[in-house]
Amino acid sequence: MKEEVYKVFRKYGRLLAIHGYVAGHGGNLSLRSGNRMFITRHGAHLEDLKPQDVIETRVDKPSSLDTIASSEILLHRAIYMESAQYLACIHTHSPYAIATSFFYDELKPIDAEASYVLKRIPVVEGEAGSQRMAEAVAKALKESHSVIVRGHGVFTAAQVIDVAYRYACLVERSAQLLYLVDVLKKLGYTFITPTHL
């Protein structure tokens, strides 16, 4: 199974990197299967994952392999334990999402697709790797499919990784659109509210 997980992680890791949502050692991916969790290892490059970058550990309690797993393992575990419907989590360092998180406590997407799919994207706070952040994100994801940690990045969760990936793309697209709309407003353009949204 680890081999299969590796193939999946490698595919979505590359896609996220192509979009610029992750770079360097940033971001992580996880999948749950039964009481096991597969997660990218600490220090892995998502744009070029190797087989040894996939760590198999427990979902229901800490394991010694947490030592080499992503430093966000606490958070991934908290998400799965809080919401049994989620089987995949993605974490990115999407630049527009991070930038807008400094100005909003909640993002309300204004484009058709994201406003329909995501509805709202809460912004929470917490120190990377901390229990507090893990709890805040897990709680937010009970009500919503995506959340932004202020100044840090995006967490999305879904039943399958492809959907979690879609959510990650939508969050960043929404944040980018909000920024562009704000720029156009400041340039003096009149905003026309769509009647169908």
């Binding site: 800490p62 010694s64 030592t67 990377a128």
Partner: protein, 591 residues
């Protein structure tokens, strides 16, 4: 004022000596100070059991301050196991009490006419009779001395193994700290010293309290956020490494015949937590609390740590955790280094498999293992041969390949065929097969601070040299190396600056570390070691055919050339007994 107690047990005479600021500036304290004192006070080729051998208990400039993990001490002498210069670092509280007694270090020479203890108390040193303590296990010894001197004192003692000059006898402090490797407990035993007791109320002056406060606030945050010091070690202790290392095919089993252990789960950190761990403990001023108290069959005791657990399980083919814990307790009681004990037992098992020794000792024989541990401490029967360590055991019975040692010190629980940097670190270690001179595992396995390709030799020599220098400095301050998983060299240099008021930065710290390293190498060269001793056992230079490390051959020669070049020891040819080019000792007066 700085002070060293110089004790000659043969006379007996006690002198209080001011080491001078130069010595402390150049060698910091702890390991560095001890190495310098031993180097200056020993003649080459001296038998480690000769009364003229000296043994030094040394604290560092940060000992007994508010800097985390500052209760440790260093123990330095010439090792009866390896004949190299040897320092062993111990946790617990003894270092705190030694510093509080008013001494930076205690140097012991000579031999007491009968069993003795040394009491270091509020600036005074006395030698007293230990007739009633001789023969007692370490736990009982500590208890008796705490009863006599009160609970606010530190006790460093030997057990029956040290008394009987088992070559890998250790020194146990306060029941939770172990100066484990190299047989320094036997050096104390050869001097008829059962224990050193330290007591005092002196406080260490701090030059810049404000800077120290700011640093400590930053340190605790980083220690707590680090996944290893903040989560893994507090929860599982060092046995957290069992599954991790085995996963990478680096958990040697059956005397390094295999690089992984099929039954690792049965002896893992998880198995320990589920059945045996009762509570955590910490050394003086340590927020990590990696020490674990266990209980088995109604008895409570310390550990086992990762290395002890491995040596007494996978290395010997034992998969029963109860047996391993009990064997660990036995080694602690008797005052034996668990790594060398396990490795010597595994060596004996292999010799038995080849029908080279006069007993039948199968892999995994739990009952015989416990009996042999006792026999080793008391030098009975085959135990008398085991007490010599694996190198001498294997040589005696005609198959030296069965001993997994470097420079006479048995290798620890990371198979070097899985991490080339660690392989180089083992080969070049001044004290022999040791993972703590340079812990390349943090780069090559744990990814702290960054993950490297463990099968690449590129850049490894530079990193090994850096780590060796850095850890020599850390051992001289005397701090716990776990701090270095969360704190970098500049942070530690800043702490030293805050306490001493001297303008230390990372460069000065690393220079001191290099000086200490070179002095150790000088000592070893003087004893007859050459660059041909910078090697690994033959078994580890040949590939295994199964597991994650299958087919891998360590490019040791290539890395050694790089290493000597980085060290500046090379002038086109290997060292081979030639004087060092830049030992860093010129111009310093002997004590």
């Amino acid at each position: 004022m700085r002070k060293i107690a110089y004790i000659d047990l043969s006379t007996p005479k006690v002198e209080h000596i001011d080491p001078g600021m130069d010595l402390l500036t150049n060698y910091l304290g702890g390991r560095g100070l001890g190495v310098k004192l031993v180097y200056d006070n020993l003649n080459p080729a001296l038998n480690p059991y000769h009364p003229d051998n000296v043994i030094v208990f040394a604290t560092g400039p940060l000992t007994a301050t508010r800097v985390y993990t500052s209760g440790r001490y260093a123990l330095i002498s010439k090792s009866p196991l390896t004949n190299t210069i040897f320092d062993s670092n111990s946790g617990g509280f003894f270092g705190f009490f030694l510093k509080s007694s008013g001494f930076d270090a205690v140097l012991i020479k000579g031999r007491a006419p009968k069993p003795s203890i040394i009491v270091v108390d509020e600036g005074d040193v006395t030698v007293k009779s230990a007739d009633s303590l001789w023969g007692l296990p370490t736990g009982e010894t500590v208890k008796e001395l705490l009863n006599e001197y009160g609970s606010r004192c530190g006790v460093a003692c030997i057990g029956p193994a040290g008394e009987n000059l088992t070559r890998f006898a250790c020194v146990v402090s306060d029941g939770i700290g172990f100066a484990g490797r190299g047989g320094l407990g036997a050096v104390l035993g050869s001097k008829n010293v059962k224990a050193v007791v330290a007591r005092g109320s002196r406080r260490v002056d701090v030059a810049d309290e404000n800077l120290l406060n700011d640093l400590l606030k930053n340190f605790i945050k980083r220690i707590r956020l680090n996944p290893i010091t903040g989560k893994s070690l507090p929860r599982f202790g060092t046995p957290v490494l069992v599954n991790v290392v085995n996963e990478y095919g680096m958990f040697p089993s059956f005397n390094f015949k295999s690089t992984y252990f099929e039954d690792a789960e049965l002896v893992s950190g998880e198995a320990l937590i589920e059945g045996f761990i009762v509570k955590s403990r910490s050394c003086y001023n340590c927020p990590i609390a990696c020490k674990k108290v266990t209980r088995v069959n109604g008895r409570m005791g310390e550990g086992p740590e990762y290395e002890s657990l491995w040596a007494l399980s996978a290395l010997c083919g034992i998969n029963d955790l109860k047996t391993v814990i009990e064997a660990n307790y036995l080694c602690n009681d008797l005052g034996l280094d668990t790594i060398t004990m396990g490795s010597t037992l595994a060596c004996a098992m292999e010799l038995s498999e080849r029908r080279l020794i006069p007993i039948q000792l199968s892999w995994g024989d739990k009952e015989k293992v416990k009996n042999l541990i006792l026999d080793t401490a008391y030098r009975r029967g085959l135990g008398n041969d085991l007490a010599e360590g694996s190198k001498r055991l294997a040589e005696k019975y005609g198959y030296s390949e069965a001993s997994m040692n470097v420079k006479g010190l048995e290798l620890p629980a990371y198979d070097p065929r899985g991490a080339y940097g660690q392989a180089l670190a083992y080969a070049t270690s001044n004290r022999g097969g040791c993972h703590l001179r340079a812990y390349m595992i943090s780069f090559e396995l744990l990814g702290v601070p960054v993950l490297l390709d463990r099968f690449s030799p590129v850049g490894k020599a530079d990193l090994v040299v850096y780590q060796q220098n850095f850890f020599a400095a850390v051992d001289s301050l005397v701090l716990c190396k776990f701090l270095t998983l969360g704190l970098d060299d500049e942070s530690i240099a800043q702490a030293l600056k805050a306490v001493t008021g001297k303008p230390y930065d990372k460069r000065e710290l690393l220079k001191a570390g290099e000086r200490i390293w070179n002095l150790e190498r000088s000592f070893n060269l003087r004893e007859g070691f050459t660059s041909s001793d910078d090697t690994l056992p033959t078994r580890l230079l040949t590939p295994v055919d199964k597991g994650p490390c299958a087919g891998r051959v360590i490019p040791l020669k290539e890395m050694l050339n790089d290493y000597y070049a980085v060290r500046g020891w090379l002038s086109g040819n290997p060292l081979n007994g030639e004087p060092l080019k830049n030992p860093g000792v010129n111009g310093l007066k002997p004590l």
